[in-house]
């Protein structure tokens, strides 16, 4: 990916900085998206994900940095660039006064599409979004998941090269989330490029070819999810729960884990493959502690890099 030039990239961001009221919300962020790739921006609340997206769309002028979006310099030619981009915002902003079909038709006009053209595309867009036959449905009759899928269909009305998705599954139930993921994978197969922000690690692990973890406006790690897990963290995790767990962590556990994190009455033991069996054997003698052994995942990486304190 190092060979990816700014010209070949669907989106190229270099040295992006943006401050609000003296606080640097985005503090020198660089990344590039190759065609057909799904790239994730992960970070706790306030990490600068949404601000970075606003800069990419040309909705605000960065303090420093260069952005090229679908071949156009941003913000100078942001409007032209947005012709070839679809956006799914964090919060639904569908038109509540319109039917499903009207939402798509009216949105198509913002791209200069004539109604006849959008009308022809509406059935396939709705089929794609699992909303086939819902053309005349009023917006109030749609569930949260259906609204999200309609927002996705709306973002595709201009047949964009690149989709920007800001926390696309926040607030959805598991069924609705899985359906969105499945649809996004389908779009990637069609050759679309996706930039996704999320704080769901399973979402990022499933969808993203590469991702960046953002914290306080900086990229603290960047790479493929598997690579990040392999390079940033021990391969195995043993979680230990119980009233006595913190005391155990402070004494006996030290010798049998590479790294220990304590959060309330839960102890996370990060261990190498060879340490798992001795650790589990020791824990077998402590029936008051419950244990769960699992492979390390992206969430472990995320928490290691961004810490466990609340960010709100």
């Amino acid at each position: 990916m190092a060979a990816l030039t700014s010209e070949a990239a669907v989106l190229s961001v270099t040295g992006l900085r943006k401050s609000y009221a003296g606080r640097e919300v985005v503090a020198g962020v660089s990344f590039k998206l190759a065609r057909g790739e799904c790239y994730g921006l992960l970070g706790p609340n306030g990490a600068g994900k949404t601000t970075a997206l606003r800069c990419c769309l040309g909705l605000t002028t960065p303090d420093a940095g260069d952005i090229t979006l679908v071949g156009e310099p941003v913000p100078l030619r942001a409007r032209e660039a947005r012709m070839k981009v679809g956006v799914v915002p964090q919060f639904d902003n569908l038109d509540p006064d319109f039917t499903v079909a009207e939402n798509l038709r009216v949105f198509g006009r913002y791209f200069g599409l004539v109604d006849a053209e959008t009308r022809r595309r509406i059935p396939q867009l709705l089929d794609f979004a699992g909303l086939g036959g819902k053309e005349q449905a009023r917006l109030q009759t749609l569930s949260g998941g259906m609204k999200r899928r309609l927002t996705l269909a709306r973002a595709l009305v201009n047949d964009p090269e690149l989709l920007l998705l800001d926390e696309p599954t926040t607030g959805l139930d598991p069924q609705a989330r899985h359906l969105i993921w499945e649809r996004l994978k389908h779009l990637l197969q069609q050759g679309k490029t996706i930039l996704l922000t999320t704080h769901f690690m399973d979402e990022a692990e499933r969808l993203c070819h590469r991702l960046a973890i953002l914290d306080e406006g900086r990229i603290v790690a960047q790479g493929a999810p598997r690579e990040l897990i392999a390079s940033q963290i021990e391969p195995q995790v043993v979680e230990v729960y119980g009233e006595d767990a913190p005391a155990w962590a402070a004494s006996a556990a030290q010798s049998c884990a590479k790294r220990i994190e304590v959060s309330g009455e839960t102890v996370f033991c990060y261990v190498d493959d060879g340490q798992v069996i001795p650790l589990l054997a020791q824990l077998a003698n402590l029936p008051q502690l419950r244990t769960l052994h699992r492979p390390a995942n992206l969430e472990d990486v995320f928490l290691k890099l961004t810490g466990r304190e609340l960010r709100d």
């Binding site: 420093a64 913000p75 100078l76 038109d95 006009r109 200069g112």
Partner: protein, 263 residues
């Protein structure tokens, strides 16, 4: 690094504003009949209530019966109200509550296009509102001559003026409650000082000076003679004042909206 145009740049206009106008028109069309009737009911109650009730006690006002005098003021005040409501409550809903503008800005439409679309729409809706009253008072025989057709461009311009002023307030508003100040502190005094209910000449001299600066007063000075079948005196002056306020207010609203949404 390239920059967005300066916050203080002159307004840019493009055909893209039409897509925004059409969005609002489609919503209005769905509710057109209740909307027109609603906009008509309030001014008609005042017109008949004051026109016949109070008018019965009065001699001629400005050379005509009080209800005829009041009819032309009502056309202007209703246009002002319709434009203000649309540019305040409705535009604020679309900007802040429904985030409709945010959705539009993700498409290849600039904020200048969104705001000019909203501006033209609010003026259009105000014109429809003024037109509805014009039709009613024509049917009642309060309109003297076809010269009254010239009222249409005047009420459109009046709509543009008050829509632009409203958009300034919307750009500054933290919530709907904020609009109450605008109505009670500016709109209501304006109606009383602008010759809607009684001739401006009834006011003490100081108030007459204030009235000379109020856009509604200029609108009334144009509409009243036109409805009475006369060519307004100083028409160019009154039109120029309305146009100047409309343009200056729109530019101000645009600067404030850019500051609010493109920071």
């Amino acid at each position: 690094m390239t920059k967005l145009p300066s916050r203080y740049a002159l307004p840019s206009f493009s055909w893209r504003a039409i897509a925004v106008w059409r969005r609002n028109f489609l919503v209005w069309r769905k509710l057109a009949i209740p909307s027109v009737l609603g906009n008509l009911a309030d001014p008609m109650i005042y017109l008949f209530g004051l026109g016949y009730g109070l008018g019965g006690l009065l001699p001629q006002v400005g050379g005509v019966s009080y209800i005829v005098f009041l009819a032309s003021g009502t056309v202007c005040a209703s246009t002002m109200n319709a434009a203000s409501f649309e540019a305040l409550y409705s535009a604020f809903s679309r900007m802040h509550v429904q985030k409709t503008w945010e959705a539009i800005l993700n498409a290849p439409v600039a904020l200048d296009d969104v705001l000019s679309g909203e501006w033209l729409w609010a003026a259009s809706k105000a014109t429809l509102s003024g037109l509805a009253i014009l039709m009613v008072i024509t049917a009642l025989g309060f309109v003297a001559s076809p010269l009254a057709l010239w009222v249409l461009p005047v009420i459109f311009l009046t709509g543009l003026t008050f829509a632009a002023l409203g958009l300034i307030v919307t750009a500054l508003a933290p919530s709907y409650d904020f609009f109450m100040y605008y109505f009670t502190l500016l709109m209501t005094p304006m109606v009383l000082l602008s010759g809607v209910f009684f001739p401006v000449e009834q006011l003490p001299a100081a108030f007459q000076t204030v009235a000379a600066a109020l856009p509604l007063a200029h609108s009334v000075r144009l509409v009243r003679p036109l409805l009475l079948g006369e060519v307004p005196a100083d028409a160019i002056l009154h039109l120029s004042v309305l146009l100047a306020i409309a343009l200056a207010a729109y530019w101000t609203a645009l600067i404030l909206t850019r500051r609010r949404l493109l920071a």
